[in-house]
C-alpha cells in the first residue's frame, strides 16, 4: 500500500514538472512569434534614401511611441569591432541604453543571415526583455543592418508561475484523492482478511475452537482449510497421547511382574533384576512423561477453568492422604481460565499438590489468581518442614531426591517444570506463610 502511494506520488510529481515545462516553452514560442512579426513589420517599413541613409519606419503600434511602454525596436549596423551601432530607435526607448546584441555577438547574426535570434536581456525600467534580432541587407545599401525588436517578458513569467501554482494545487488534490481511494480500497477489500486474522488469533489464544465467520467465496476455502488444520492438530495430539499412554501401560505391567517376582526370590540374580528394573521404571516414567509433555502445548484453542480442576484435585488428594488427615483449602475465581488442556493442568497442579501432601503435616493451601491479561498464578503452600534456598534449585532437577527416606522423589517437580515450560510458564520455589514450602506456578491465561 505504501508502495502504491509512493508510486502515484512520483508519477504526479513528474507529470507536474513536465506540464509546467511544456507550458513555459509553448508560451515562450508564442511570445517569440510576436517578436518575429514585429521584425517583419520593421523590415517592410524601413527605407533607404539615395545616400544610403536609413529612413525610420512608421509603425502603427502605439506602444512603441509611449516611453518605457515595454515594447521597443531599433535598427543598428554592426561595426568592425563586432559591436552594434544604433542608427535609429523607437520613441518608447527614450534615452535608455541601446538594445544589446545576442550572446554570440554580431558574428552569430552574420553566421545565420535571414534567421532571427531570440535572447533575453536587461531593459530599461528594470524590465526583463525578450529580444529578437535579424541581420538583413537593404536595397541601395552596401552594409547590412540589424533589425531588433524587444518586449517586456514580465507578463510571460507571471503567466508561467500562475500556471505552475494551479498545476501543483490540482495535482496535490488529485494525489490526496488517489491515496484516499487506495486506502479505502485496501480497507474495504481486505476487511475479510482482517476478520480472518482476528479469528485465527482467537483460536490460537484459546478463545475460540474454530473459525465461525461468514467469508466471501474467495476466502471460505481458506477458512475451511484452517479449520481442518486445527482439527487435524487436535487429532494428532490426541493420538500421540493415546500411543504414549498405551506404551506406558504396556511397559509397566511386565516391569511390575519382574519386580514382584524378583523380590520374592533370594540371591544375587534377583538383586540385580530388582535394581535394574527399578532403574527402568524410573526411566520409563521420566521419558514417557517427557514425551507427553512434548505432545502438549501444541494443541490450539483449548481453555480450562481453573476452579473445577482445583476442586477435583483437592478431593482426590484428600482421599490419597486420608490416613494423614490432610485438609486442602483452595481458592480460585470462577472466571479464571488456563490456556491449555485440562489433562495438563491436572498434571501440573496435581504433582505439585501431591508433593505438598507428602511433606505437609496436615494442611495445604492452594490459591489461584490472575496476574495479568495473559498470565495466571497458582501458589501451593504446605505446613511441612520446607527446604533451604540452596536446596530449592536441586528440587526441580531431574530425579533429585532431597531425602532418600522421604516418600516419593523430586521427580514430580521436575516433570512440573517440563510441563510448565512447554506452556511457556515457570515454576519457582519459596517459603510458605504456613512455614513449609511454597511452589509458585506461572501459567498462560485466557481472559475474555
Amino acid at each position: 500500500m505504501l508502495l502504491a502511494g509512493l508510486w502515484s506520488l512520483a508519477v504526479l510529481v513528474i507529470a507536474g514538472v513536465a506540464l509546467t515545462l511544456y507550458f513555459s516553452r509553448a508560451a515562450e514560442a508564442r511570445f517569440d512569434r510576436g517578436l518575429a512579426e514585429q521584425i517583419d513589420n520593421l523590415s517592410a517599413g524601413v527605407g533607404v534614401d539615395v545616400d544610403g541613409a536609413i529612413i525610420a519606419p512608421s509603425l502603427a503600434d502605439t506602444r512603441t511611441l509611449r516611453g518605457f511602454s515595454g515594447k521597443y525596436w531599433s535598427i543598428a549596423e554592426p561595426t568592425r569591432e563586432g559591436r552594434l551601432r544604433e542608427i535609429v530607435r523607437s520613441v518608447s526607448l527614450v534615452d535608455a541604453a541601446p538594445l544589446p546584441p545576442p550572446p554570440g555577438g554580431v558574428r552569430a547574426l552574420a553566421l545565420h543571415p535571414g534567421v532571427t535570434q531570440f535572447y533575453s536581456a536587461e531593459g530599461p525600467d528594470n524590465q526583463r526583455l525578450r529580444v529578437g534580432a535579424l541581420q538583413v541587407r537593404l536595397p541601395r545599401r552596401v552594409d547590412p543592418v540589424v533589425l531588433l525588436a524587444a518586449e517586456d517578458s514580465g507578463p510571460l513569467s507571471v503567466d508561467t508561475r500562475r500556471f505552475a501554482i494551479v498545476t501543483v494545487i490540482t495535482l496535490v488534490a488529485l494525489g490526496a484523492g488517489l491515496m484516499l481511494a487506495v486506502l479505502l480500497q485496501v480497507r474495504l477489500g481486505l476487511q475479510p482478511l482482517f476478520a480472518l486474522r482476528r479469528e485465527v488469533a482467537a483460536v490460537r489464544r484459546g478463545k475460540a475452537e474454530r473459525l465461525e465467520g461468514d467469508y466471501p467465496v474467495e476466502l471460505s476455502p481458506l477458512a475451511g482449510e484452517l479449520n481442518a488444520l486445527v482439527a487435524h492438530n487436535q487429532e494428532v495430539v490426541e493420538r500421540q497421547r493415546t500411543h504414549v499412554g498405551n506404551l506406558a501401560h504396556a511397559l509397566k505391567t511386565p516391569l511390575s511382574v519382574m519386580l514382584t517376582e524378583a523380590g520374592q526370590q533370594p540371591g544375587k540374580l534377583s538383586e540385580v533384576v530388582t535394581r535394574q528394573a527399578e532403574v527402568m521404571r524410573g526411566q520409563v516414567d521420566h521419558h514417557l512423561r517427557r514425551a507427553r509433555a512434548a505432545a502438549r502445548a501444541q494443541s490450539l484453542g483449548e481453555r480450562t477453568a481453573v476452579a473445577p480442576v482445583l476442586d477435583e484435585l483437592a478431593r482426590t488428594l484428600e482421599k490419597i492422604f486420608r490416613n494423614k488427615g490432610v485438609v486442602i483449602d483452595w481458592r480460585a475465581p470462577d472466571d479464571l481460565y488456563f490456556q491449555g488442556e485440562k489433562q495438563d493442568l491436572l498434571e501440573i497442579v496435581g504433582n505439585v499438590m501431591e508433593n505438598a501432601g507428602k511433606w505437609c503435616t496436615g494442611r495445604i493451601r492452594v490459591v489461584a489468581t490472575p496476574i495479568s491479561e495473559e498470565r495466571l498464578q497458582i501458589v501451593v503452600e504446605d505446613d511441612g518442614p520446607g527446604i533451604s534456598p540452596d536446596q530449592r534449585g536441586e528440587m526441580l532437577r531431574r530425579g533429585a531426591r532431597l531425602d532418600e527416606n522421604a516418600p516419593g522423589s523430586g521427580l514430580g517437580l521436575s516433570i512440573v517444570d517440563d510441563l510448565a515450560r512447554a506452556y511457556g510458564g515457570s515454576v519457582s520455589l519459596g517459603e510458605a506463610s504456613l512455614r513449609g514450602l511454597s511452589v509458585n506456578l506461572e501459567l498462560p491465561r485466557v481472559s475474555d
Partner: protein
C-alpha cells in the same frame, strides 16, 4: 477377610493372589470386567483390588456400577495409568485408594490394611435433611441418592450444618468449627464455602438469615426426618 482381585494380566494376578494369601486373606480372582461385576455384586468382600484396563467392561465403569448398586466395599485401584485425570476419574467413580504399577507388594498390603481398618470404624447414625443424606462413618454425602463430591472443608461445613439443623448458625461459629485453631479465621471464607456448597447441593438447601448466619433446610415438599 475376603478380598477380590480384578486383574487381566495372569502373572500379576498370580503374584497378587500369592502375596495376599501369604498375608492371611482369602482371595478370589476375576480376569475381566464382566466377572468382576458379577462377583462384586453377589459376594460379600471386605475389599477389592481393581485394575482399570480390563477386557469387556472398563474398570471405572465396573466401579461406578457397584457404587450405584449400593456396594460400599472399599476399592483400591491398582493400575499403570498414572495421569492425574485418571486418578481423579477413579476417585470420583468411588475408589478409596489408588496405587500405580509397578508397585511394591508391601505398600499394597499396607494400604489394604488401612482401608480395612477404616471401613471397620465405629458406626454412627446417618444424618438426613430432606433428600440430603450424610454418612459420617464413610465421610460421604448424597443428594437424592446422587453421591456428592466434596472437599474435606466443604464436608466439614455440611456436617456441622446438618448436626444443628434446628438453628441458625453464625459465621463465627462456623469458622471455629471449620478450621483447626491455627487456620486464618476470616469470616469471608465461610461465604466462599457456603457458595461452593450451594453449587453442589442446590442453592435453596442453605438458608441465609441476614446478619445472623446460615441454616440448612429441606426443600419445599420434602419431609425432614430427624
Amino acid at each position: 477377610m475376603r478380598i477380590l482381585v480384578v486383574e487381566d494380566d495372569a502373572d500379576i494376578a498370580r503374584q497378587l493372589k500369592l502375596a495376599l494369601a501369604d498375608a492371611g486373606y482369602a482371595v478370589d480372582h476375576a480376569p475381566d470386567g464382566e466377572e468382576a461385576q458379577f462377583l462384586g455384586d453377589t459376594e460379600p468382600y471386605d475389599a477389592i483390588v481393581l485394575d482399570l484396563g480390563l477386557p469387556k467392561i472398563d474398570g471405572v465403569s465396573v466401579l461406578e456400577r457397584w457404587r450405584r448398586d449400593g456396594i460400599t466395599t472399599p476399592v483400591l485401584i491398582l493400575t499403570a495409568r498414572d495421569a492425574w485425570s485418571q486418578k481423579v476419574a477413579g476417585f470420583d467413580a468411588g475408589a478409596d485408594d489408588y496405587l500405580t504399577k509397578p508397585f511394591h507388594t508391601e505398600e499394597l498390603l499396607a494400604r489394604l490394611r488401612a482401608l480395612l481398618r477404616r471401613s471397620a470404624g465405629h458406626a454412627s447414625p446417618n444424618l438426613t435433611c430432606g433428600g440430603l443424606r450424610l454418612d459420617p462413618r464413610a465421610a460421604r454425602a448424597s443428594v437424592n441418592g446422587e453421591p456428592l463430591r466434596l472437599t474435606s472443608l466443604e464436608y466439614r461445613l455440611l456436617h456441622y450444618l446438618m448436626m444443628h439443623q434446628a438453628r441458625v448458625i453464625s459465621r463465627t461459629e462456623l469458622v471455629e468449627h471449620l478450621y483447626d485453631q491455627d487456620f486464618d479465621r476470616d469470616s469471608n471464607t465461610v461465604e466462599v464455602f457456603i457458595g461452593r456448597l450451594r453449587k453442589k447441593i442446590g442453592p435453596d438447601r442453605i438458608e441465609t438469615a441476614r446478619g445472623l448466619g446460615y441454616r440448612i433446610v429441606p426443600l419445599e415438599g420434602e419431609t425432614s426426618e430427624p
